[in-house]
Symmetry: C2
Subunit: 470 residues, 2 copies
């Protein structure tokens, strides 16, 4: 009997043999959804409680077996599938899917890590409250994964990243102990920020099994507008104006380059674009605690001032929820239009807002010089300084061949420019396996030394998501 068989049998005793999968088609667990990573698990283990997670981790620790925690398997960086060695346990948490409690007066909700994000949103909405985290994968991603990667999304400008939406955690440590830090407190200064250390650590320090999350009152109304702009600099100016005028009721500020909207016209001609083509288009969203009329009045006054100052050349305010949704659909369809146009090289970068114009101007020029004919698909969450700054092969080129030949050099050019402008090479997607080398090269040696010391201290056997992040 091989040594692995013993531990697999032991998993069965903990979670039931029906929840230990070693045969058949395990591709839903072993292949990431972008199909860049195809791993092979020693076993897929599906615990049904925090205590079972802890027992599984203790078994892994006793046998020196690595484990990869997985929620909805919607990550962007290959952080939640096993490697190809067949030695790592895939710990799937989707059976931990209860909303444990909602505390309306305290504006908090406690959920298992395996809860789908949308289920959390709906549980909050059923109480007339808002859980503001919102992102494309919300129908299948889990809050545990959102926390492990500190997910961003479309509401960061107002509500922050997932980190800012979490008050407390329950975590199984690498020793298989349960830390119950499920506090619903806005203030608690009793020791080190363990919560924040586990958030964003991508399963490499412990397994998040539950969280207490912040809720907010539902806004009384939301309004959306599109504005056409002559330059990216004007977009930064419009952002400043909107922040001053709308304060925290400005909940969305998305930018789209003309080439991005051109891709929509080519691939989705049925999507109406209310404004004529302009170098840049911004989608603004305001969430109002008073009502629709108030929101609209404020919004129109803002856009009028922006027109007077020459920041924008044209604007359209949504007159209905349907129009508002149609505006968002433009923004959200860009990634798909881009895929239909062909393979491309994606960069999830962030920059100080003040550096964005210079970064884009300079890097566009440098890319076109180094790789003549490439097309630049540029859109993103300008309000957070987060751009999806993607590079598409020249028209007519074999895109796959272009990527094979040029992807490392394109990345190096873009990330060097990001570094030079004080930015980050991973704004909201994390490191996982995909950007591990980038982290080792680009993060400061002192930061890396601190991270490695923390990893060694909390996971001395290196069993928690080995091969990711560090």
């Amino acid at each position: 009997m091989n040594p692995a068989a013993g531990v697999i049998d032991a998993f069965g005793l903990v979670v039931g043999t029906a929840n230990v999968l070693t045969e058949g088609d395990l591709s839903a667990y072993e292949i990431d959804w972008r199909k860049r990573y195809r791993g092979r698990a020693l076993a897929v283990v599906r615990p049904g409680s925090t205590a079972e997670v802890a027992a599984v981790v203790r078994l892994c620790a006793a046998h020196g077996v690595g484990l990869v925690a997985q929620g909805g398997n919607t990550g962007m960086v290959g952080g939640s599938v096993p490697d190809g060695s067949g030695t790592q346990v895939l710990l799937n948490l989707t059976r931990l899917n209860r909303v444990r409690a909602i505390d309306v007066a305290n504006l908090t909700l406690t959920a298992d890590a395996g809860c789908v994000l949308q289920a959390v949103q709906e549980a909050a909405a059923a109480q007339g409250l808002l859980f503001p985290l919102s992102l494309a994968a919300e129908g299948s991603c889990t809050v545990g994964g959102n926390l492990a990667t500190n997910a961003g999304g479309t509401q960061v400008l107002r509500y922050g990243n997932t980190r800012e939406l979490c008050l407390g955690l329950e975590v199984v440590t690498a020793a298989g102990e349960v830390w119950n830090g499920l506090s619903g407190l806005r203030k608690d200064n009793t020791g080190y920020a363990l919560r924040d250390l586990f958030i964003g650590s991508e399963g490499t320090l412990g397994v998040i099994t539950a969280a207490t999350l912040k809720l907010y009152p539902q806004p009384a109304a939301s309004t959306t507008a599109l504005a056409a702009l002559p330059s990216l600099e004007s977009a930064v100016g419009l952002l400043q104006l909107a922040q001053a005028r709308l304060g925290s009721s400005l909940t969305g500020f998305e930018v789209m380059g003309e080439y991005s909207l051109g891709l929509l016209r080519a691939h989705f001609p049925q999507l109406v674009q209310p404004l004529p083509p302009a170098p840049w288009t911004v989608l603004l969203e305001q969430s109002d605690s008073e009502g629709a009329d108030h929101a609209r009045t404020l919004f129109e006054a803002l856009l009028e001032t922006a027109l007077e100052r020459g920041l924008i050349s044209d604007a359209a305010v949504a007159g209905s929820i349907e129009q508002s949704r149609a505006m968002w659909r433009l923004r959200e369809s860009i990634p798909l239009a881009q895929s239909l146009e062909g393979l491309n090289i994606k960069h999830d970068i962030s920059l100080p807002v003040s550096a964005i114009t210079r970064f884009v101007t300079d890097t566009d020029v440098a890319l076109l010089k180094a790789f003549p004919g490439v097309r630049l698909v540029n859109f993103g969450h300008l309000g957070d300084g987060n751009l999806h700054y993607n590079v598409q092969a020249p028209p007519g080129d074999d895109a796959a061949a272009f990527l094979r030949q040029h992807e490392p050099a394109v990345n190096a050019l873009v990330y060097d420019a990001v570094d030079a402008h004080g930015g980050s090479f991973s704004a909201e997607h994390g490191i996982g396996a995909l950007k591990r080398d980038e982290l080792a090269q680009r993060k400061s040696p002192v930061a890396l030394k601190l991270m490695r010391a923390i990893k060694q201290a909390l996971d001395p056997q290196n069993i928690m998501n080995p091969g990711r992040v560090l």
Copy 2:
């Protein structure tokens, strides 16, 4: 020559002998402002740059000497003065007092750790921007200390604790290396949350030397109101209503028990109380991005609804900035009135908002039963679940004798009740030396184990603020 003399001479070579103090009256450095801790330093060292801080830490590491970082020395828990052994270096950072940069478009400000909080507020205001951290000691506390203790204050409801106001840090590690993490990015998912780990670690993991802080547009207007309430439960109801109606423009929600306001009438009869005595009084503040008329209209509508629902019995809206300030002065004068009434036992606690009524009702009863005649001074940041729940000796008793005899038992009763209601025994003041034993007793063993592992990993020689927190 004793071994200490060598290291003191070496400090002089690094920072200049004028900035190494070993003689004369060092009480401003060695005694905390509450005069509960009177330490003795090996030397007071006053570096003038981050490089000098790093060199001093390297000397301490080489000689195995402990060091205590100090800013304005306004901490509440004895975390920034040396112990009495005469072996710890007091590293005073107030010479690091430059605002390094303000980035208006990015809404960030980078400051040395030794900058006084008020200087940061003023530098932001000079650009028409707001740095919202505000607390009683703002004229002398430093941003380094605010970060090291994750300070709270009066604007947490809207803007969060100091942690939420910080985007990047520069830190000198226990090895005397400089980590430059001065990012001005809203999104950056490249590895572990080192920033958050150093924030709130009270100088026990490294020395914060600079920070990049978030700024906000200045609100166009602020309005303040007082409301009289029949019960604490009504105050929680009013909070929910105000959050739903005002959204994020609700920037203050402070509660004051009748006994607290009675102390004001006794000790500060010149302070006008606009409302007749009621069991509870709430101070609400709204910050408006539109203007004073809009703020007042919204506020009056809110209070009218609260009256109709019986949540409040009376209300007064400030008609001018002077009236608004007078309302805040009531709230801010309670600690002093309490001191004038006599020594008392202070508790800086937080609870889930939903548990506050039950906690106060039950704990009041338990305290009065165990310590007949004690007076309960109860006020605080209800919007954050943060109460200053203080216990004053029975009238006529010798307060000092009462404290000597009963303080441990009073603390145990209060903190046991806090634990039972899911609260924290240190909401915004931290641990320092004062609550170190409390932390060891009340924090979960798993959390303590994780904290100790992190401390050991980042400061293996235990030279960073030894004897504090852990």
